[in-house]
Amino acid sequence: MKVFSYERARTPREAAAAAGKPGAKFIAGGTNLLDLMKLEIETPAHLVDVNGLELDRIEPTPGGGLRIGALVRNSDLAADRRVRRDYPVLSRALLAGASGQLRNKATTAGNLLQRTRCPYFYDPNQACNKRAPGSGCSAIGGITRQLAVVGSSAACIATHPSDMAVAMRVLDAQVETIQPDGQVRSLPIADFHRLPGTTPQIDTNLAPGELITAVTLPPPIGGEQSYTKVRDRASYAFALVSVAAVIQPDGRGRVAVGGVAHKPWRMEAADARLPEGAKAVAATLFETARPSEQNAFKVALAERTLAATLARSRVQA
């Protein structure tokens, strides 16, 4: 691990100002960042520890939604009574991710900011435009079974690994931030993560030093909520494909798919086709898909997972 310096921030604004400087990074749970620092894939010169910021509460919003502090641990968010009752898709997604030990440490904001688990990103001996911009992409033409089938580019076919973010996308969450100059803003989760394009090294639309302070959920939308994750093991594995769904009794609803793209994959045009069934929804979601021979199964698997989700919701209704 490279040498770094360290400070504890006392307020969100101080933290953002400190992290706005070149080479600085926030650390919260650290479960992804420290792993990458050990491998020297991340080499921050300075760590801004944000654990002392009082951003670990879950509070109702005046509009009837829920405001989740950036430092709320994944296990606490999954277990929150209001989340279990009103946003079960979010509890389910969180509980499908990582292990008990990791969920106890990983935070809401850190989960959104985690890096891809593309094996070529993790292997410094391989070309990777996300790790070393301009070096190329060894994943393309390599072992692609786990990698993206849609929204990818000639520069990068990595996926975003989060389960939580897929549920937040289906719930239309808002990401609240503070910038180094003290300005605050709120980004729709849909605009938070980026597609790789020609700049796969940039995962999100946050500015340098911009600190996530909370994620806000709109008022509960009811419906039959589920998160179905298909993976190589029954537990503690990243998704091959996952489906977060909120299906209303009349068959309308929303779906977002994980494990297939550089961000949670949701299209309002696909949602609109839910009453037509899984095939129609998948046709819209994957219209622009460009899978490899090794991961073409993900398109079929996503359609079948959607079909299973819709069948279950009909039984429940």
Binding site: V3, R8, T31, S235
Partner: protein, 211 residues
Amino acid sequence: MSSPGDSDISRRAVLAAGGAPVAVAAAPGLASGQAASPETPIRVRISLSVNGQPRQAQVDLRTTLLDLLREHLKLTGTKKGCDHGQCGACTVIVEGRRINSCLSLAVMHQGQAVTTIEGLGAPDRLHPMQAAFIKHDGYQCGYCTPGQICSAVAVLEEIKQGLPSHVTADLNAPVEASDAELRERMSGNICRCGAYSNIQEAIREAAGRLT
């Protein structure tokens, strides 16, 4: 939870490049908090409670909680397996919660309470979970065992608190220590010898005695 500020350095402390911890007076703007490119390892004094005892050590800032426990405090019961949060051999209980000690910096645990396998029990006064692992032969080589036991003790507490898991059928109903629940909750602890069925038996027995 104790505050990270309960330490020998203030919350505003900035560990300047190449030197000992430097406490900076509280002032807006973090003038001294620049992201320097330090090349000399920075040392920091860590004070925390381990197994009920106050402990201190002067360590490189890069030291993980796992390396603090093993290399500095000589508590070698906690094991280093993968060192990447994948195997669970390093599982310890911090402020009542199990975590991977390999994926946490020691400096982030100033003032906190850590329980390791040594704190759960000893040969002459075994923790019920340790006794159950022995009775059911819940190991072969034993390397993953301290992590398995720390994790299992925390798992039963999580079930007692009613925290749901991936296999909990009803998120709003009480949680039971069923075999499916125990298996799912222990998935972050890998056993290369494959002693899983006996580990399961041990935890099931301890669940009956502890909860």
